[in-house]
């Protein structure tokens, strides 16, 4: 039975209701968590009893002849910034340590309705602010490929859980790369949908104009399955867009013949690890051999995207995080003397250093005298970044780039210098500024650590992204590689 761990859901599914029950499948994954999570530390909360009950309820429905829902018995993990009714949702922050939401996020509700079984809540950089999961208020997660290395972030717990066989799929959130970069570092598939494709209701807000929820899976077909389940307009999120959700599985096998793939030269310049560069260019040659037409394109604003992103994201965060004041929920300082010290001490005790840094950066950028020079300037550059992408997509259908400039880094290697950490997201950030869909798929190794290929598409054209990613995956074996922790 343990041979089921690390097998994509779509391969296991035909056995459900035959020689395998949902309860047995869930039990296998709970066993993997039990065996390994002491060293990987992907989870903050494991909801084993609830998962068993939900799986048994599904088995009863199947036994009574009900049709199998699309994700029946899929053992999933949720990033701990997604609200779960009755289950603690910490955001990796001490300030939300006692927070038990009274409702499910829409994406979580939709997953459950599709039959998925939630195993627990995964670790993240506090309030999704970070690129290594080292900023968690509850200790770091480790990369299943090498426990001395970070899993990436901020959805590092979700990525590590899938890579370590502690969940078959997970949800993450991506504000500047937080799904794609950890997916790349952990050797799995991670997709950030178009802004507005998936409801953000119940996702604890970091930067509201950039945040999106998306799937993290072992392969592209599972990714399409999960995306199908969570997509679509939701009255609870007025920024979720009322556009048709196509059948992502139906178009998966269309191939890439004649698909135009753009290589933005700026993404292959200074700062890119030569081994990563080689792996990504090799992947592009595979697409070419499958019939794709490759051409070079330009994204000259790339070097301005990073500061633009941090100014906008921090400004929005400084406003969003004002709600953590120790009044209505979360933790409260015991040293409050009056209302001001109640706020200031609750926040001083509850937030970690990176969150404080970003709140102050955002407050500064929005403050009188600096607003025009920083915040408004960043919003204008955001327009220019979007125009660069628009120009590219007049000529090509998708862009191919590295997901991360390096395959990985060691725990502690970048914590002393915030700017070095910010540079980990240099290739993923522009995609969020423009609101576009992007996916990272495994495309090789550098010094034993996984490398990811990033594909970026037109707004609401996840179908083409998945089709190209699937064609690449079918032509290669990288998605079948499993972390050492899973092979033992």
């Amino acid at each position: 039975m343990s041979g089921l761990v690390g097998v994509p859901y779509h391969e296991v599914r035909p056995r459900l209701g035959r020689d395998l029950s949902c309860r047995e499948l869930v039990e296998v994954y709970l066993g993997a968590i039990e065996a390994q999570d002491g060293s990987v530390r992907a989870y903050l909360t494991v909801t084993a009893d609830q998962a068993r009950q939900e799986a048994e309820a599904l088995d009863r429905r199947l036994a009574s002849g009900e049709p199998l829902p699309p994700l029946a018995g899929m053992p999933v993990a949720l990033k701990d910034n997604l609200c779960t009714r009755g289950v603690r949702t910490t955001c990796g922050s001490r300030i939300l340590e006692p927070f038990v939401p009274p409702y499910d996020a829409t994406a979580v509700r939709r997953l459950r309705e599709a039959g998925a079984v939630v195993l627990g809540k995964t670790n993240l950089d506090e309030f999704a602010m970070g690129s290594s999961t080292e900023n968690s208020g509850f200790g770091p997660t480790r990369n299943p490929w090498s426990l001395e290395h970070v899993p990436g972030g901020s959805s590092g717990g979700s990525a590590a859980a899938v890579a370590a066989g502690e969940a078959v799929a997970a949800l993450g959130s991506d504000t500047g790369g937080s799904i794609r970069q950890p997916a790349s570092l952990c050797g799995i598939v991670g997709l950030k949908p178009t802004y507005g494709r998936v409801s953000r209701y119940g996702l604890v807000a970091f930067a509201s104009s950039l945040d999106q929820i998306g799937p993290m899976t072992l392969d592209v077909r599972d990714c399409a399955l999960v995306l199908q389940a969570i997509s679509g307009r939701d009255p609870h999120d007025s920024t979720s867009v009322d556009v048709p959700v196509p059948d992502f599985l139906a178009s998966l096998e269309g191939g890439v013949r004649g698909v135009r793939v753009g290589l933005p030269a700026e993404f292959f310049g200074e700062g890119l690890d030569p081994q990563v560069r080689e792996a990504v260019l090799r992947a592009v040659r595979v697409l070419e051999s499958l019939g794709a037409v490759v051409e070079e394109v330009a994204l000259p604003t790339l070097e301005y995207a990073l500061p633009t992103y941090y100014l906008i994201a921090c400004a929005e965060a400084s406003s969003n995080l004002a709600r953590y004041d120790g009044v209505a929920y979360g933790s409260r300082s015991r040293r409050a003397e009056d209302l001001y010290t109640l706020y200031a001490r609750t926040r001083a005790e509850g937030f970690g250093p990176e969150v404080k840094r970003r709140i102050m950066l955002g407050t500064f950028a929005l403050s009188a005298g600096y607003y025009e020079g920083f915040y408004k300037k960043a919003q204008q550059v955001r327009t220019l970044v979007r125009r660069d992408f628009d120009r590219c997509f007049q000529r090509v259908d998708v862009l191919a780039t590295p997901t991360s400039p390096v395959a990985g880094f060691r725990l502690g290697e970048r914590t002393a210098d915030p700017l070095q950490m910010y540079l980990a997201d240099v290739y993923t950030i522009p995609v969020n500024l423009a609101g576009l869909p992007g996916v990272s798929v495994p495309c090789g190794f550098a010094d034993g650590l996984p490398v990811g290929l990033q594909l970026v598409g037109r707004p609401f054209d996840e179908a083409t992204l998945l089709r190209v990613a699937y064609a690449y995956e079918q032509a290669t074996e990288w998605h079948r590689a499993r972390a050492p922790v899973l092979r033992s």
């Binding site: 006692p98 927070f99 038990v100 009274p102 802004y195 507005g196 104009s209 950039l210 009255p235 007025s238 920024t239 867009v241 604003t301 301005y304 500061p307 633009t308 941090y310 100014l311 400084s318 004041d325 120790g326 009044v327 209505a328 929920y329 979360g330 409260r332 409050a336 209302l339 001001y340 010290t341 109640l342 200031a344 001490r345 926040r347 001083a348 937030f351 250093p353 404080k356 840094r357 709140i359 102050m360 950066l361 407050t363 500064f364 403050s367 920083f374 408004k376 300037k377 919003q379 204008q380 550059v381 955001r382 327009t383 220019l384 979007r386 915030p418 700017l419 609101g435 576009l436 707004p459």
Partner: protein
């Protein structure tokens, strides 16, 4: 613009964050180097460029104004660090009269 410990203190007050002396020093050096890096934006001319606040153009989303059940009051009140008979308790807001 240099980010001195005094600037950090002013911003921290606006942000409702009580900082220690060490934090003030560390943040002032870090924010200073981050903002210097960010100043590269000045090299890019943006005169007359419309600012983007949202990547996907969505405006004026309407819905019917219908009454639906809200979250149970007891459950919501139970989340507060301190509550009394369904109310949230905080320190005195207005100064007591002398």
């Amino acid at each position: 613009m240099r980010i001195t410990p005094e600037v950090v203190e002013r911003v921290a007050r606006l942000s409702r964050l009580e900082l220690t002396e060490q934090e003030r020093e560390a943040f002032s050096a870090q924010l200073d180097s981050i903002l210097q890096y960010f100043a590269r934006l000045d090299r890019l001319p943006t005169e007359g460029v419309e600012p983007t606040s949202h990547a996907i153009p969505v405006t004026n989303v309407f819905r019917e104004d219908t009454v639906t059940p809200s979250l149970p009051r007891e459950e919501v009140a139970a989340m507060a660090p301190e509550s009394y008979e369904g109310y949230v308790v905080v320190p005195r807001v207005l100064e007591a009269e002398a």
